[in-house]
C-alpha cells in the first residue's frame, strides 16, 4: 500500500464514506499497529475516538468487592521498577499516566486535560516538542494536589541511571520544561514522530514528587511507597503481600465522577492458568482472570457452566520463524554465524521461498492455537479479518518442490536434496512450549515431503531468552539455521520494533550478542527507510515507510510470520470491563462494573 492510497482512505474517513474502525483494520492488515493508525487520523484532523464504553452506574461505590486473579503475581508496586509485565499490569490500580491506549489503539487522556495535537498547538509542526495540559483538581491519595512538578520529578527519577528504572530509555533523551503548574513541555533533540511515549501507557505512570523526592537515585529502592503506592488512581492500597495479594479500597476523591463502582478490589496471584480459569468460569469464586493460556477445549468445557465467559483481546504478539542469513556452522574469529559469512543454503532465495511455502499456517492456527491465534503473513502487527485479502501467504508443497527443482536442488539417494555438495539439511530451534513443539513438527513433516531434512531442537526458555554471552543456545547467538519464538510487542509504535533489522544492530561477538538484529540480515534500503521514518513527521508517509519495511522483510523471507496471538481473559457473567493489550488491562479499572 502506497502513501497515496493511505491518503485516499483517510479522505474517505473524513467524508464519512469509511468508518474509522475499518480504516484501522486496513492499516492492521498491512502490518501497522492500531495506535499508529489512529495517530495518522489524528494528524489529519480526525480526533482520536474516545472509547464508547457504556458506563451505567450513576454514582461511585455500591459495587462491593471485585476479585481478580492474575496468576503471575505482582512482586512490587513501583511502576518504574516493573521488570515483568505482571507488575506493569497491577500498578495501574494505583498510578496513572497522562494518557493511555484503549483496545483499538486510541489514545485516551487520563491525567491530561486534552490530547496534544498539531491542530491545538500541543504538538509542534517540526515535531521537536509536545505540550501537555494537565487535568486540574486531581489529588494524590493523601490529598496533595497533582501538578506539573510531579511529572517533571518522574522524568528525573526514571532517567537517573542510579535509580535502575527500566523506563530510563523513555525519559533520558527528552528535556522537560514546566510552563505552569498544569502545563509541561517535552522537547526532543530530533523530531519525534511518535511522541506518545513519555508519560503515556505502561512506561508513563507518574509518581508523587512530595513522597519520592527523598528517595532519589540509589535510595529509590528503600522507598516505602514501592510496596505501599500513593497514586492518583481509582483505588487506594490497603494491603500488599508481594507475589501473593493486593487489596485496595475505592478512592473517594477519584478525579472522574461516579467512579469507581467497586468499593474494594482484590488481586490474588499464584497458581496456574487452568485453575484461574476454573475459579472464574466454573465456580465463580473470582470475577476476573487475566492471561488464560489454556487449551481451547478446556476453556470451552469450563465456560459451559455459564458462570463466566472468555474474552479474547487483540494483542500484538507474533509467533514467527527467523532464518539465519549467516553461516551458523563455520567458526570465524571465535564466533559462529559471523557477519562475514553467508548461509550455505539460505543464500539461495529459492530455498527461502520454498520454506515459506512449506509452513502450513492455516493448520497451525486452527489445530494448535485455536481461538487464541490467527494465521498471519505480516511481521509487524495485528492483522484481522482483512488479512487474507491483503497479504499473500500460501501452503503448497508441490510449488515448493517445483521451486527447489528449478533452482537445481536435486534429491539424493536418501531423498534429501543437494546442490554442489551442500545438503538441504537444517536445524530448527525454539524455546520449550507445547504449542511450539507441535508447530515445529508440522513444519518438519512438510519439509520432509519437499526433500528438506530438518532436525528439531528445543531450548529451555530461561536459556533461550537469556543474554548470557557464554551460552550459545540463546536467541541472540542464533547458532542454528532457523529459530521460532514470540516477539512480545506491546509497543504501540513499530519504530523500536523495526530496529531489530538494522545493519547497525547486528548481534555479534563484538557486542556480546546483546544487539537486536539476530538474523544478521542487512539491507541498505531498509536502513535508509528506518532512518527516514525515525524523523518523518507526517504519519501517513511514515506509515507507508513501515509498510515497505515490513514488505522487505517478508518478501526477502528473513522471517516467516506464523501466528498472531491473542490474550484470553475470563470474565464472570455480567462484568463490564474495558481492556487493552497496548498497556495494562487495568488501564480503565475505574470503569469496571456490573450492570444493575
Amino acid at each position: 500500500m502506497k502513501e497515496q492510497e493511505i491518503r485516499g482512505l483517510i479522505g474517505r474517513v473524513k467524508q464519512g464514506a469509511m468508518s474509522r474502525r475499518d480504516f484501522v483494520q486496513r492499516m492492521l492488515a498491512v502490518g501497522l499497529t492500531a495506535p499508529l493508525a489512529t495517530t495518522m487520523l489524528a494528524h489529519n484532523g480526525i480526533a482520536h475516538a474516545q472509547t464508547s464504553f457504556d458506563y451505567t452506574p450513576t454514582k461511585a461505590g455500591g459495587g462491593g468487592t471485585v476479585k481478580l486473579l492474575q496468576w503471575q503475581p505482582a512482586s512490587q508496586l513501583n511502576p518504574h521498577f516493573a521488570v515483568g509485565s505482571a507488575d506493569q499490569h497491577a500498578i495501574y490500580l494505583f498510578y496513572e499516566p497522562l494518557a493511555s491506549w484503549d483496545e483499538e489503539g486510541n489514545l485516551t487522556p487520563i491525567l491530561a486535560e486534552e490530547l496534544p495535537s498539531v491542530e491545538n498547538g500541543g504538538v509542534s509542526q517540526d515535531g521537536t516538542s509536545v505540550t501537555w495540559k494537565l487535568k486540574r483538581g486531581v489529588t494524590w491519595h493523601d490529598g496533595t494536589p497533582f501538578t506539573a512538578d510531579d511529572c517533571l520529578f518522574t522524568a528525573e527519577f526514571a532517567s537517573d541511571p542510579e535509580t535502575l528504572a527500566y523506563t530510563m530509555g523513555t525519559y533520558r533523551d527528552v528535556t522537560f520544561e514546566k510552563i505552569d503548574d498544569h502545563t509541561i513541555r517535552l522537547v526532543f533533540k530530533t523530531p519525534r514522530p511518535f511522541w506518545p511515549d513519555a508519560f503515556v501507557g505502561t512506561r508513563g505512570l507518574i509518581l508523587p514528587k512530595h513522597l519520592y523526592q527523598d528517595y532519589r537515585g540509589a535510595r529509590a529502592k528503600d522507598a516505602p511507597m514501592n510496596l505501599r503506592p500513593v497514586g492518583t488512581g481509582p483505588f487506594i492500597i490497603t494491603n500488599f503481600v508481594p507475589g501473593d495479594l493486593i487489596s485496595a479500597k475505592a478512592n473517594p476523591n477519584y478525579h472522574v465522577p461516579n467512579r469507581p463502582y467497586f468499593d474494594a478490589i482484590e488481586m490474588k496471584g499464584g497458581g496456574d492458568a487452568a485453575s484461574a480459569a476454573r475459579a472464574v468460569l466454573q465456580t465463580g469464586e473470582y470475577d476476573f482472570a487475566w492471561n488464560l493460556s489454556v487449551e481451547d477445549e478446556i476453556l470451552d468445557s469450563m465456560g459451559a457452566s455459564g458462570q463466566g465467559e472468555v474474552r479474547l483481546i487483540a494483542g500484538a504478539n507474533i509467533e514467527h520463524m527467523q532464518l539465519n542469513t549467516t553461516d551458523p556452522w563455520t567458526e570465524v574469529d571465535g564466533e559462529r554465524a559471523s557477519v562475514t559469512t553467508q548461509h550455505p543454503v539460505f543464500k539461495d532465495k529459492a530455498v527461502r521461498d520454498a520454506l515459506a511455502l512449506l509452513v502450513d499456517r492455516a493448520a497451525i492456527a486452527e489445530f494448535i492455537y485455536g481461538r487464541s491465534g490467527e494465521a498471519t503473513g505480516n511481521f509487524i502487527n495485528t492483522p484481522d479479518r482483512f488479512t487474507s485479502k491483503n497479504t499473500s501467504w500460501e501452503f503448497d508443497i508441490d510449488k515448493a518442490n517445483g521451486l527447489l527443482d528449478a533452482a537445481g536442488w536435486v534429491r539424493g539417494r536418501d531423498g534429501i536434496r543437494e546442490k554442489d555438495g551442500v545438503k538441504l539439511s537444517l536445524v530448527f530451534q525454539s524455546p520449550t512450549a507445547g504449542q511450539r513443539q507441535k508447530t515445529q513438527t508440522v513444519v518438519k513433516q512438510a519439509c520432509e515431503e519437499a526433500g528438506i531434512a530438518m532436525e528439531l531442537k528445543v531450548v529451555a526458555p530461561g536459556i533461550f531468552f537469556s543474554a548470557d554471552p557464554g551460552n550459545s543456545d540463546t536467541f541472540g547467538h542464533f547458532y542454528c539455521d532457523i529459530q521460532m519464538y514470540t516477539s512480545p510487542m506491546r509497543e504501540p509504535d513499530p519504530g523500536l520494533f523495526m530496529q531489530q533489522f538494522l545493519s547497525s544492530e547486528v548481534s555479534a561477538k563484538a557486542n556480546n550478542w546483546q544487539l537486536r538484529n539476530v538474523t544478521r540480515w542487512r539491507n541498505a534500503e531498509f536502513d535508509e527507510l528506518e532512518a527516514a521514518a525515525s524523523v518523518e513527521m507526517d504519519p501517513v508517509k511514515r506509515a507507508a515507510m513501515f509498510i515497505r519495511m515490513n514488505d522487505l522483510i517478508v518478501e526477502d523471507v528473513v522471517v516467516i510470520p506464523l501466528i498472531y496471538r491473542k490474550v484470553a481473559a475470563g470474565l464472570r457473567t455480567g462484568l463490564k470491563a474495558p481492556l487493552s493489550t497496548w498497556t495494562s488491562y487495568l488501564w480503565r479499572v475505574s470503569d469496571w462494573h456490573y450492570d444493575a
Partner: protein
C-alpha cells in the same frame, strides 16, 4: 557428651558452608537472569539493561559475588530481591505464617493419624484392620499431592461446591467468622498434605511397634498381668517411638520449607510458592536465601535428631 556435641557441631558447620558453596555455584551456573523479560522487549534499549546488571553487581565474577553474599549473610543481611526490590528477610517473614499454619497443621494431623493407626495395626498384625490400614497407606503414598489436590478440588469445590480452592492469607472476617473461613480454606491443603505424610508414617510406626512388641520384656510385662493399655503405652511405645521421633525431627524442616506443589495448587502464599515464583523469575537472592535457610534447617534438625536419639537411647555410643 560434650565431645560428641562439639564434634557434631563442627561437622554441622562444615556442612552449612559446603551447602552454601554448592547452592551458590549451581544458581550462578544456571542460565538466565532476572531481566529475561526485558531482553526481548524492543522498547528497552540494551544499555539500560546492561546498566542495571552492572549496578546490581550481576556482572562480577562468581567467587566475588559469593564472598560478598557470605559476608552479608554472616551479618544477618539475607540479600536484596531483584524482582521485589525489598530485603529478602522481609519477604520470607511474610510467607512464614501461612506455611507454618498449613504445613504445621498437616504434620500434626499426620502424626495424629499415623500414631494410633500404626500402633493398632501392629497390635493385631495381618488382621482385617491391619490389611485395610496397609492398603490405604500404600494408596496414600503412591498418590502424589498434585493428583489428590486436583481430585479434592474437583470433588469438593466444583462438584459439591462446599470448599473454596483459593487460599487467602488475609481474610476480611473477624472473630468466629474468621475461624470458620480459615478452617474451610485450610481443610483441603492440610488434608492433602497430611494424608500423604500419614501414609508413610503409619507404615513406619507399625513396623517399629511390631519389632518391639515381640521382645521378651513385653511378654514379661504381659505375664505380670498388666493391662494391655499400660503394656502398650508404657512399655512398648516408649521404645518403639525412638526411631519415630528421629523420623519426625528430620521431617520438621519441611514445616518451614513449605510444600511447593500443594502451595501452588491451592495458592497458599507460603515459602514453597515464594521459592517457585522466584525460580520462575530468576530472582537469585531469594532462591539462594530460601534454599540456604532450608539447608541450614535440615542440618540443624539432623543435629537435634542425633542428640535426641542418644539421649532417648543411651545404648547408642559415639563411634
Amino acid at each position: 557428651m560434650a565431645v560428641f556435641l562439639a564434634r557434631r557441631l563442627a561437622i554441622a558447620m562444615l556442612s552449612v558452608i559446603g551447602a552454601s558453596v554448592v547452592l551458590y555455584a549451581v544458581l550462578a551456573l544456571a542460565p538466565g537472569d532476572v531481566f529475561g523479560e526485558l531482553v526481548s522487549n524492543p522498547g528497552i534499549p540494551p544499555d539500560v539493561i546492561a546498566n542495571m546488571r552492572e549496578k546490581l553487581g550481576l556482572d562480577q565474577p562468581i567467587h566475588i559475588r559469593y564472598v560478598n553474599w557470605a559476608l552479608a549473610m554472616v551479618q544477618g543481611d539475607w540479600g536484596y530481591s531483584l524482582v521485589n526490590r525489598i530485603d529478602v528477610g522481609t519477604l520470607i517473614w511474610q510467607r512464614i505464617p501461612a506455611t507454618l499454619l498449613v504445613v504445621g497443621s498437616a504434620q500434626a494431623l499426620a502424626l495424629a493419624i499415623a500414631l494410633p493407626v500404626g500402633v493398632l495395626a501392629a497390635m493385631r498384625p495381618y488382621s482385617v484392620f491391619d490389611q485395610i490400614a496397609s492398603t490405604l497407606a500404600f494408596i496414600g503414598f503412591s498418590l502424589p499431592t498434585f493428583f489428590t489436590g486436583l481430585l479434592f478440588i474437583l470433588l469438593f469445590s466444583i462438584t459439591l461446591d462446599w470448599l473454596p480452592f483459593i487460599y487467602r492469607a488475609d481474610l476480611e472476617q473477624t472473630g468466629g467468622a474468621w475461624v470458620w473461613a480459615q478452617l474451610r480454606q485450610s481443610i483441603m491443603p492440610v488434608t492433602v498434605l497430611a494424608l500423604f505424610q500419614a501414609a508413610s508414617w503409619t507404615r513406619y510406626v507399625r513396623s517399629s511397634v511390631l519389632e518391639v512388641i515381640r521382645l521378651d520384656y513385653v511378654v514379661t510385662a504381659r505375664s505380670k498381668g498388666l493391662p494391655e493399655r499400660v503394656v502398650i503405652v508404657k512399655h512398648v511405645l516408649r521404645n518403639a517411638l525412638i526411631p519415630v521421633v528421629t523420623m519426625v525431627a528430620l521431617e520438621l524442616p519441611v514445616v518451614f520449607g513449605g510444600a511447593i506443589v500443594t502451595e501452588q495448587i491451592f495458592r497458599v502464599p507460603g515459602i514453597g510458592s515464594l521459592l517457585i515464583s522466584s525460580i520462575m523469575a530468576n530472582d537469585t537472592p531469594v532462591i539462594m536465601a530460601v534454599t540456604f535457610v532450608f539447608a541450614c534447617l535440615v542440618i540443624l534438625f539432623n543435629l537435634i535428631a542425633d542428640v535426641l536419639y542418644r539421649w532417648l537411647d543411651p545404648r547408642i555410643k559415639l563411634h
